[in-house]
Amino acid sequence: MTTNPKITGTAGSLDTSDVGVSSQRMALALLMVLAGAALLFTVGFAQGSGELFHNAAHDTRHAFTFPCH
């Protein structure tokens, strides 16, 4: 308790708003998964006009075992 009074204090005061905090955490996690999937699609799957994305990320696709050609 005495090692880090600041953190303990904040956590204690939060007991009533736990639901709000955890739903904020869930929302952030969900957004991160969506953003990650979008980035992954661009790097690993999209061809782009004139195969722009394919050619730029070509070696990464092969190295990370994305289906490439």
Binding site: M1, T8, A57, D59, H62, P67, H69
Partner: protein
């Protein structure tokens, strides 16, 4: 707090992306460059099959048209699949931009690796947030191992790492199987680690096995000019390099998440478990 989670994501993704670029230069990239020499004909070659009488055009990966035209039984029976294949067969046409070999190509690969690192880092930190439990460098390493199984190990069991010039089934069908496998494996691992009773764990095991029981799409004929030795070396080299990437990513997300998100914030996460009484 959100900004600290995002800092964790970007730092870890950047570090893993840079390090894996270096690691790829040891074995993976030289093997890709070597295989490209065998990628002779990237142009669609129109030809007629002797037995079926089908005329069409597609990449032959350097296989002589006469040799290819003789093999008809499999071709004739799967015309639909083949016609599909034909549509997506792409050629590296001269007008398409591609980074020049050397520094430029390495630069774009490094950028792609960093973007990949950030994408996977987002997934790992999302898992930490969803679980809401303490994470350290060591447990991060284990989550990195799970990430490797989800995104590299399980998909590679059905679709081995490909070198340029290797034959494979239609791109869309492989991408669909890849995505399905990743989702099934991710849910399977999550269900297994987060459930406390035996039945969900059995369901998780079935989910993990399902993509492989269904089976990955494979070509009817393997026509490849790439020597088998190169393909074998590439499979090992790329998988182990990916494993290295996931170890770095897992350990660094775990470390940074603990330092930045958990230890500096009592607001966002309950910190009671970090404070031994």
């Amino acid at each position: 707090m959100i900004s600290k989670a995002i800092t964790t994501v970007i730092l870890a993704g950047f570090v893993a992306g840079i390090l894996v670029t270096g690691a790829q230069m040891l074995r993976v990239t030289p093997l890709i460059l070597q295989a490209e020499k065998y990628e002779v004909s990237a142009e669609a070659v129109p030809h007629t099959h002797q037995h079926s009488g089908i005329t069409h055009a597609h990449e032959l990966n350097g296989v002589a048209p006469e040799v290819h035209s003789v093999v008809t039984a499999a071709h004739g029976s799967e015309t639909a699949a083949h016609a599909h294949d034909q549509n997506i067969a792409h050629s590296h046409a001269a007008e398409n931009w591609a980074p020049a070999d050397g520094v430029e190509r390495t630069f774009y690969t490094a950028v792609s690796n960093i973007v990949t690192g950030i994408a996977f880092s987002l997934m790992l930190v999302a898992v930490y947030l969803l679980r809401g439990k303490p994470v350290s460098m060591n447990s991060g390493l284990l989550w990195g191992a799970a990430g490797f199984l989800v995104f590299s190990g399980s998909p590679a069991l059905g679709l081995p790492p490909e070198l340029p010039g290797m034959t494979a089934a239609a791109l869309e069908s492989r991408q669909a199987w890849w995505i399905g496998t990743v989702i099934a494996t991710a849910i399977g691992i999550g269900l297994f680690t987060e459930s406390k009773t035996i039945l969900p764990k059995i369901a998780a095991a079935l989910l993990l096995a399902a993509p492989h029981l269904i089976g990955a799409p494979h070509p009817l004929l393997f026509e490849s000019n790439v020597p088998a030795e190169l393909s074998a070396q590439f499979a090992i080299a790329s998988l182990l390099t990916s494993a290295f990437f996931w170890m770095v990513l897992g350990a660094s997300t775990g470390y940074l998440y603990k330092k930045l998100v958990l230890e500096s914030s009592g607001v966002f996460l309950k910190t009671s478990s970090l404070n031994p009484q």
